[in-house]
Amino acid sequence: MEVTYREAMREAIREALQKDDRVFLMGEDVGRYGGCFAVSKGLLEEFGPERIRDTPLSEAAFVGAGIGAALGGMRPIVEIMTVNFSLLALDQIVNNAATYLHMSGGQFHVPLVIRMATGGGKQLAAQHSHSLEGWYAHIPGIKIVTPATIEDARGMLATALADPDPVLIFENSTLYNRKGQLAPEAGAVDIERARVHRAGRDVSLLTYGASLFKSLDAAAALAEEGIEAEVIDLRTLRPLDDETFIGSVTRTHRAVIVDEGWRSGSISAEISARLMEKAFYELDGPVERICSAEVPMPYASHLEQAALPNVERIVSTVRNVVRTHG
């Protein structure tokens, strides 16, 4: 059946709530308002205020309460409206969620799931538009997943909830209205492996989140020119599935990384560095990166679009990479 990314995510939450009494959803406006991106619409009516908890504007407290509830045996799903606001809860995420298992010598683990919207493209400007998922991937002790497809929107939550450790789910807000087919029996998916979405021999396009679709469009355009790009959705940014993307580059000998985050110290830098370390002698030319411009996101549409990765930039970059190192 055809569903939107939003509906797939909602169904995943609903299923989790139905299957496990320990699961509950909490965050700002997840209940009466229906969620700032309408993901949780209808869930309050279905599950009641005990399990669909509207919180005050207190990111640090309700994220910390999620950690505590997880320590106390529950399986909380904490929703933070957007990644920029998650900075208010970063102390709890980095100093507590990521460290408790280690500081306690393995006695206490934190089975917490935090969901948040990320990304630009909606003209929300410098305090609502960033893609910090790659930045979060720097932190040991947490896992970072970035569902791009309908299947992953539907399937990653269950796996994240089954994980004994904190998992952060980043949902690119431009994907919520995206439609796609979903098998009726669709369910949990792994959060370990990257996925090859399109096979190709000439170059590897390594990407995740909303950039996956820009990369697939670019690959289609490039195919017209006879350039076959292999498109890989990383899916999980921490831990990274080196094996899959290194395997791909070992076949194509060229790589371009497409990442909506800022360039410096990005996850794309990490991937490039790993290719340097583990596939240097396989490379026909330097690995290139296409990232967002290093500016706080501007409001004006033409400037925002200029700041974000786009199909044209991917196509021309790949063209160069393939032609120059033919």
């Binding site: 504007l57 909606k122 409001y299």
Partner: protein, 333 residues
């Protein structure tokens, strides 16, 4: 516009000033009604938060401020910007994303900035402007001026840790901050009673020994009077003051809000207290205004809004090759 009747006692302010207050509120109202239209017409994008219903708050409080004072507002700040005297044209152009906008099109509706009037935005992080206002006030105090910093924020921000830390710090250091809490009863879809155990902001303030007063935010004269008293105390060096302005948002939180969380009747009840209609009515009762006079104001306000739109339409797009400007300053000291 048919005024609802109101028992008018003599006004505490002169006719001219009263008409000025009315005109400013009406300008905000018409400016935002036009903005909503332009949003549907896709001329304005991103988030658009309307202030309609709360005009008396921005107008009344801003009247109490001097040019040397600093203002920090929220993402719902068109009203504050207009009341502060920022021209409608540059504000509209900002929402169009034109470089003639007051933030050169970089900020949009949520980030109106203006150095001339010391308007420090336009902050889209709930509570995020509070520490800034404390710092602006600290600067004034250390520099020995008598300027104050005024921070507008919603009642939803009171739950944030930054509110708590800012209130304590401002009082601890006896800083000239006017905390203007716009209590419109909702934070997006969350009613105050569902987010705070203590819903009386003056009691919250007591937890920091910060002086506070609650005032009817639908009555521009009451707001102005309370704000003048509060600002005078703050300016005199008595430390911060929290003014709770009890008001209501007539429109949705933003253009995406289906308003599932409140009843139409509740909204209608509050609309009977429309700050513009009631004030205009009062002026008419006082025979300081007649329909012709009101029409005159409508006409001039309408013209100003039309001009603002024309200014925005005529505005130009900043060349994309300038994208990376304003990340770091061009000049050094």
């Amino acid at each position: 516009m048919k005024p609802v009747s109101s028992r008018g006692t003599r006004l505490p302010v002169g006719r001219e000033h009263a008409l000025h207050l009315l005109r400013t509120m009406l300008l905000i109202r018409r400016f935002e009604e036009k903005s909503a239209e332009l949003y549907s017409a896709m001329k304005i994008r991103g988030f658009l938060h309307l202030y309609i219903g709360e005009e008396a708050v921005a107008v009344g409080v801003t009247e109490a401020l001097e040019p040397q004072d600093a203002v920090v507002a929220t993402y719902r700040e068109h009203g504050h910007a207009l009341a502060r005297g920022i021209a409608a044209g540059p504000i509209m152009a900002e929402m169009y994303g034109k470089q003639e906008g007051c933030s050169r099109g970089r900020g949009g509706s949520m980030h109106i900035f203006d150095a001339k009037t010391r308007f420090y935005g336009g902050n889209a992080i709930v509570g995020g402007g509070l520490p800034l206002a404390v710092g602006l006030a600290l600067a004034e105090k250390m520099r020995g001026t008598n300027a104050v910093a005024c921070c507008f924020f919603g009642e939803g921000a009171v739950a944030e840790g930054e509110f708590h830390e800012s209130m304590n710090l401002a009082q601890l250091w006896n800083l000239p901050v006017l905390f203007a809490c716009e209590n419109n009863l909702y934070a997006m879809g969350t009613a105050l009673a569902l987010s705070e155990t203590v819903t009386d902001m003056t009691r919250k303030a007591a937890g920091y020994d910060v002086r506070a007063e609650a005032v009817d935010g639908m009555d521009v004269l009451a707001v102005e009077a309370a704000a003048k008293k509060a600002v005078a105390m703050v300016r005199a060096g008595n430390g911060p003051f929290l003014l709770e302005l009890r008001t209501y948002r007539f429109r949705a939180h933003s253009m995406f809000d289906p308003e599932l969380y409140r009843k139409k009747e509740e909204v209608e009840e509050w609309k009977k207290r429309d700050p513009i209609v009631t004030f205009a009515g009062r002026l008419e009762d006082e025979e300081l205004l007649d329909d012709k006079g009101l029409q005159g104001i409508e006409t001039s306000v309408g013209a100003e809004v039309t001009e603002a739109v024309a200014f925005a339409e005529a505005g130009t797009w900043e060349p994309s090759d300038q994208l990376e400007r304003f990340v770091y300053s061009d000049r050094r000291e």
